[in-house]
């Protein structure tokens, strides 16, 4: 059982805390000779596979590194465009590592605000009166659990679909937030949480949740 990541969103929809607890490595490295038998394209400032799924390289995977050197967005480490670089036969054979592109901090901010609006729409489209927003969103590979406090702060946890007692974890995170962020005199409300004790306690809460799945009374 794993917990993938934790997000804290303030009442305005701004991301004030994010922690990646576990990032699965779905990567594939392969050496290619000219011509490249995959079709690559630019997408969201990255180079992604658009056709030619094989050997663990899937459509949608981004180019992570070329010949062992990490790429930066859509250009190689020395600033050349990746697509141009891979068109040149003299650069072959070339070893390319593909994988799911990790989210940049900008993307995380955007996704957090996006969830904030989805949460509100979910409650507006309710067929029953008095509905909250999205509390749990299920996909085949992960479940997203969201807990909104009375003051409008949202705690979001992404976990394995089989992970139990996330509700207890969300309340524990709220408690940690109240104890170590709100009671910290240097913390200003609605602003990003940069408190060492908050980090430490959150990490240990996640560990406990992954192992046992409950916090016991008064923990």
């Amino acid at each position: 059982m794993v917990i993938f990541s934790v997000y804290v969103v303030n009442k305005a929809g701004g991301l004030i805390y994010q922690y990646d607890n576990y990032v699965p490595r779905a990567e594939a490295e392969k050496t290619f000779s000219y011509p490249l038998d995959l079709v690559l394209k630019h997408h969201d400032e990255k180079v992604v596979v658009s056709f030619g799924q094989r050997d663990g390289i899937k459509v949608g995977h981004a180019v992570l590194s070329i010949n062992g050197i990490d790429v930066m967005g859509k250009s190689t480490a020395d600033g050349k465009d990746i697509l141009e670089y891979l068109k040149d036969p003299s650069n072959y054979p070339v070893s390319i590592r593909f994988g799911r592109a990790r989210l940049s901090s900008n993307e995380k901010l955007m996704l957090a605000s996006m969830f904030h609006s989805l949460f509100a729409i979910g409650s507006q489209l309710s067929p029953e009166p008095g509905s909250s927003g999205i509390e749990m969103l299920e996909t085949d590979v992960f479940k997203l659990h969201c807990f909104q406090t009375l003051t409008g702060i949202k705690f979001i946890v992404l976990a394995d679909p089989r992970q139990a007692s996330i509700d207890a974890l969300l309340r524990k995170i709220y408690e940690i937030y109240a104890d170590f962020a709100l009671k910290n005199p240097f913390y200003s409300l609605e602003m990003p949480i940069r408190c060492e004790l908050f980090d430490q306690n959150l990490k240990s809460a996640l560990e406990i949740a992954e192992k046992a799945g409950n916090f016991g009374a008064g923990s």
């Binding site: 993938f4 990541s5 576990y22 990032v23 699965p24 779905a26 899937k58 949608g60 995977h61 799911r100 989210l103 993307e107 996704l111 996006m114 969830f115 609006s117 989805l118 729409i121 979910g122 409650s123 507006q124 489209l125 309710s126 067929p127 029953e128 009166p129 008095g130 509905s131 909250s132 927003g133 999205i134 509390e135 749990m136 969103l137 299920e138 996909t139 085949d140 590979v141 992960f142 997203l144 992404l158």
Partner: protein, 145 residues
Amino acid sequence: MTVHNLYIFDRNGKCLYYNEWNRKKQAGISKEEEYKLMYGMLFSIRSFVSKMSPLDSKEGFQSFQTSRYRLHYFETPSGLKFVMNTDLSVSNARDALQHIYSNLYVENIVKNPTCILGNSLDSDLFSTRLDTFIRALPYYNPRTT
């Protein structure tokens, strides 16, 4: 234990079919607006989920729940989207949605020469059979209140 409503959207976001059974609250906007809002929300959830997902997913988004209802989502490879809102006691309605697609939509719409694909589903046979099917679901049990 109840079914609130059902939406069917085509791949372009047009609402082909809508019906409601036990719906207590309207969204407070016109039906057309509501369809657009629903489709827009699903479209955003799909893109949200594909970006947020830590692993490669096959099916993607399946359902979400709030404190009062659960939304079940099923999408065919051709982009047809089936959305059913039920109460929280229904944990999985995928089979029902799959059945609506393969046994009702395909049989009564796709195989019906007078139904033009991409138009609203106004076939009476389809609506009656769908209504019978929904009312026969084990979790369809309109509350007496």
